[in-house]
Subunit: 409 residues, 2 copies
């Protein structure tokens, strides 16, 4: 690994970087008494960036956030509700998302165009705006700059998620301590009562919005875009980053000597959040990591890694702790990418099962033991070029079917 | 529907068209005593055609069959074994596939280049050729031109399939009765102990090999290529058609007045077999039919129909009899095809759930009743153009996970 570019901040969260407060509360969108409305506030205008779902059907809050960021790439706050996705809700849905933005801006004392909004939950139902508005009024009183604020926010964005998902790193830039943190939610890719992937990154690094946007897109492609729970893509997926600049480093550029360290730290946060989402996939009992090397290009490696991780047959086999390399090579062969059919190596962890596309006898007991663990790594070497990629997913279990067959009724 | 172009032959099978015999027996590749070796023999040289899996990893028999057909497009026989896919078996696998072809040709008294071979079963294990060869020697004695021959053949090609899959139609061409029949197997798309989709079509129509090949490819695209059980594509998929010409119609050309009727009959046979495979998908409790109309093009409609039918969330919802249109519209939006996000209609059977992309209140009881049936139709109208397509699949159930988590051990 060479020099450690950043340090992991245990227990850190979105309020750890300088300048951020966060909070959450229950306003009544969820049936339980769990938090369903959360906010992150930056005490100064933050350079901001965002990436959105590629689904053609995009929920109302995405357009509102897009417009907010178009005005100079500055945000002061992001408001999130769970329990209702405000998707497929037509003109009333648009109006509700705008009202959320305007009301949060008024309550927090910032400009409306400086508030991003995000929603996750049931599709096709109108938001109970009376409850949302009451919640918004109470939010400023719940803002905290300590871990509790971060924790309340993390709670407020969850749906079927079983665990909160946070990650935090620190590094030194121009002699200043810089912190990068993130919170995320996601469990299935989409379903009307729950799900959607949402991510929120805060940092006190000084970096302009255009560069943050470029970096966020690049890093999304090797983190959030490389996970698959079930192959479905939500109408509401959104990742928002805010940089307060309060660490007072010299503004980051691509030629800044510590740019690589910042990018590595941001990538670590995004990859950790992405892996946490994959591990917490609906019904999952384990995380699957697929590593593809020796491909024709990184693009080819990515496509192959995602095809393997998305295969229901591979996912079922991992659930059953079955060292089923036949399903892995079949996935490699249908990924639509260049493959030399005679030179493929496959390992499960350290256990070699295929070399130069021919089966290698292996210790079934040892393989069973390995596959029963809570993390399973599938390594594929195409022995063609230098393209490589990692992707993450989870096993396919009875519980996935139970959760998704029955949730709406 | 207008004029009926063909009639369904109840109880017909691959031996119903004039000139065909078939048979099957147990040679010892399956652990049970079920048939695992089958053959179809044509008493005259048959004009033949075939389509193969798109997976880059192709099992040995596919290459042997490809070469056989390259020599003039004529076949006398097709030999099939189940229990072993002869895939990822290297040079020995190639030699074994060629030995199967040569030995079958000798036993049946036909030229080796007139025998196609197909295999389905476990990947990466060598065929027990002593058992295969003994089976081949006994096959001529099991050939029959009646329904029993067809039945024995259908049994011999099954793996995890629960039911035999046959279809037969007849029509009149130039005053002659022409019969088209097919047999198929398939349950999961690929897994080492079982699975793969194989299809075999026989007809006594007089048609040249090049036209039969064109037609087979066109019809495969709207039948076998429009089904999805789990999104995985086998290394062994193959569809072979043989036309004996013994019906003595004038040779079919695209300008023959009955060409459309023949194509419709062949398409019916292929669609029926494809639907039977989808309905018999591993763990399935019901057939799902997705109909997409009003798309920009047929290609777009096909991609959208297959995205819907392949969605684990849609499949789980249908298993749970959940009228979950949110998952359907999310699948429409991620299919990578042009969609007007404001004009989508969705029906479940006759129950309208979305109109112009807005939810329509519907009777949940009635929807539950409909979704509990053994066939569920999802209709999507994009209201954009005249592109249309149908696709077929099945629900995702506990049993799919059970079958695929545990089968190899």
């Amino acid at each position: 690994m060479g020099k450690q570019l950043f340090e992991i901040v245990e227990g850190g969260g979105v309020t750890t970087p300088k300048g951020f407060q966060a909070g959450g509360l229950h306003c009544g969108l969820k049936k339980t008494d769990r938090h369903d409305l959360g906010v992150i506030l930056c005490e100064v205008p933050a350079a901001a960036a965002a990436v959105y779902t590629t689904n053609l059907f995009q929920a109302a809050p995405l357009q509102v956030t897009r417009e907010a960021l178009a005005e100079g790439g500055i945000l002061r706050a992001v408001l999130v509700n769970s329990g209702n996705a405000n998707a497929c809700t037509g003109a009333q849905g648009d109006a509700d998302a705008r009202a959320m933005q305007a009301n949060a801006a008024a309550a927090l004392g910032v400009g409306a165009s400086q508030v991003a909004v995000a929603s996750t939950g049931v599709i096709g139902e109108l938001l109970k705006m009376d409850r949302v508005n009451t919640g918004i009024e109470n939010l400023p009183g719940r803002l905290r700059s300590d871990d509790q604020g971060s924790d309340d926010f993390c709670q407020a964005i969850l749906t079927t998620d079983l665990v909160k998902k946070v990650s935090c790193v620190s590094l030194t830039i121009d002699g200043q301590q810089v912190t990068i943190a993130g919170a995320a939610k996601g469990s299935g890719m989409i379903h009307p009562n729950m799900a959607t992937m949402l991510g929120f990154v805060t940092t006190d690094a000084k970096i302009g919005s255009p560069l943050l946007q470029e970096l966020l897109r690049e890093i999304t492609n090797v983190s959030f875009n490389m996970i698959t729970v079930d192959g479905d893509t939500s109408t509401n997926d959104m990742l928002v980053a805010m940089a307060s600049g309060l660490a007072e480093n010299n503004e980051l550029t691509r030629s800044h000597p510590d740019f690589a360290a910042f990018a590595a730290g941001l990538q670590h946060v995004c990859v950790e959040l992405a892996k946490a989402i994959a591990r917490d996939g609906e019904g999952a009992t384990k995380l699957i990591e697929t590593v593809v090397v020796g491909a024709d290009s990184d693009f080819a490696a990515q496509a192959i890694a995602k095809t393997i991780i998305g295969s229901s047959l591979v996912k079922s086999a991992v659930y059953g702790a079955d060292a089923n390399w036949g399903r892995i090579i079949a996935a490699v062969g249908r990924a639509g990418q260049p493959v030399n059919v005679g030179t493929v190596d496959i390992r499960l962890g350290d256990i070699v099962v295929l070399e130069q596309s021919r089966p290698i006898p292996f210790d079934e007991e040892k393989a069973l033991e390995y596959l029963k663990g809570d993390t399973v790594a599938i390594h594929v070497n195409l022995n063609m070029g230098s393209g490589q990629a990692k992707a993450w997913g989870c096993d396919l279990t009875y519980d996935y079917v139970r959760i998704n067959a029955a949730y709406r009724t």
